[in-house]
Symmetry: C2
Subunit: 196 residues, 2 copies
């Protein structure tokens, strides 16, 4: 097990067979030392790629994206969420369904901050059905920016987002892939990734 998998075993709470609570160290309260390790690990895994921008989506992705940007020494851009899709011509937009809030939100990135010159590492804390990720890939494609890779902290391997994105040819590095959870026993089964 790597450092993140170990931490999930130690402090994650299995609320149901599909809901993993990491509020005490990754979301809401953030263990900054752990976040720094995550940023360092993304830098290690994507070392050599011509990444010049980190892209994420507000809100909970911002922390990981900032620390990752610090390790890469490049700017970070976060897509904003809006309730309206009528935002003028100076932004790229994509619609993202939120299962948590059961609504469709428009995500927005200014054309000033994402261009054809950008080689982007997309990062986020969670990957489940992949809706947020598909929106971020869409804005990169609209901008003719190159997606060099995707760095995820925790992937829910029992949902199909990771599979869909990988089948599209994107390189997705998830530090922990949860293949199953058991709410009765609290057990978490990680996918063996042959790393670390």
């Amino acid at each position: 097990m790597n450092f993140l998998e170990e931490r999930i075993i130690k402090d994650g709470v299995v609320k149901s067979n599909t809901i993993l609570k990491v509020d005490s160290f990754l979301n809401h309260q953030i263990d900054i030392g752990l976040l720094d390790e995550i940023g360092k690990e993304f830098k290690k895994r994507f070392d050599g790629e011509p990444i010049n921008k980190i892209l994420t989506i507000e809100a909970s992705g911002i922390g990981i994206a900032c620390i990752t940007a610090l390790h890469f020494g490049v700017p970070m851009v976060f897509a904003k969420k809006s309730k309206t899709s009528n935002l003028g011509n100076d932004v790229y937009t994509a619609e993202v369904k939120s299962f948590t809030h059961n609504e469709v939100r428009t995500i927005i990135v200014s054309k000033d901050y994402l261009t054809e010159n950008d080689h982007v590492l997309i990062v986020d804390d969670f990957l489940a059905n992949g809706c947020a990720l598909k929106g971020l890939i869409s804005v990169c494609r609209q901008a003719n920016a190159t997606v060099e890779g995707i760095g995820i902290a925790v992937e829910k391997g029992f949902q199909n987002g990771g599979q869909i994105i990988r089948e599209l040819g994107y390189r997705v590095e998830s530090l922990a892939i949860v293949d199953s959870m058991n709410a009765k026993t609290g057990a978490v089964v990680f996918r063996d990734q042959d790393i670390d």
Copy 2:
């Protein structure tokens, strides 16, 4: 002028006599080197205080709070925004009026992550009318946590939030205080703070 004031002069855009756009380096796109300087400066100004937690509010405060937490070597907690005020007994809540979105949102901090043992540095990117800050102070008071100080990147000195919070006895360190702006000339006048 300090590093942040210089950057505002260089890249900030005065949209009106009250609106300063810092989207290219502090919000939306984030210059991570600048953010690192801000975190370092907060550490310098609050050095010696027994700070063991950084508190902010989603979304745009998260970046500054993470980098500040890295410099202090302590955890970061961000208050979440919710549309509902009916959230159970395991959270502290406060109502915060957003002038940007013209609505009242409830901010939430879990009782697990803010306690009487916490000595808190509250940080945020902007201070204007102080509504968000008052909400964060309120949740600290509910938790019997000690607010050791408040670190702000850009304060709008022509709005009364900073004055109100300082009159309540809180130490507010704003790295740049904008006393006035002129949309016609693009001029920004900073308050002289005798620091650098």
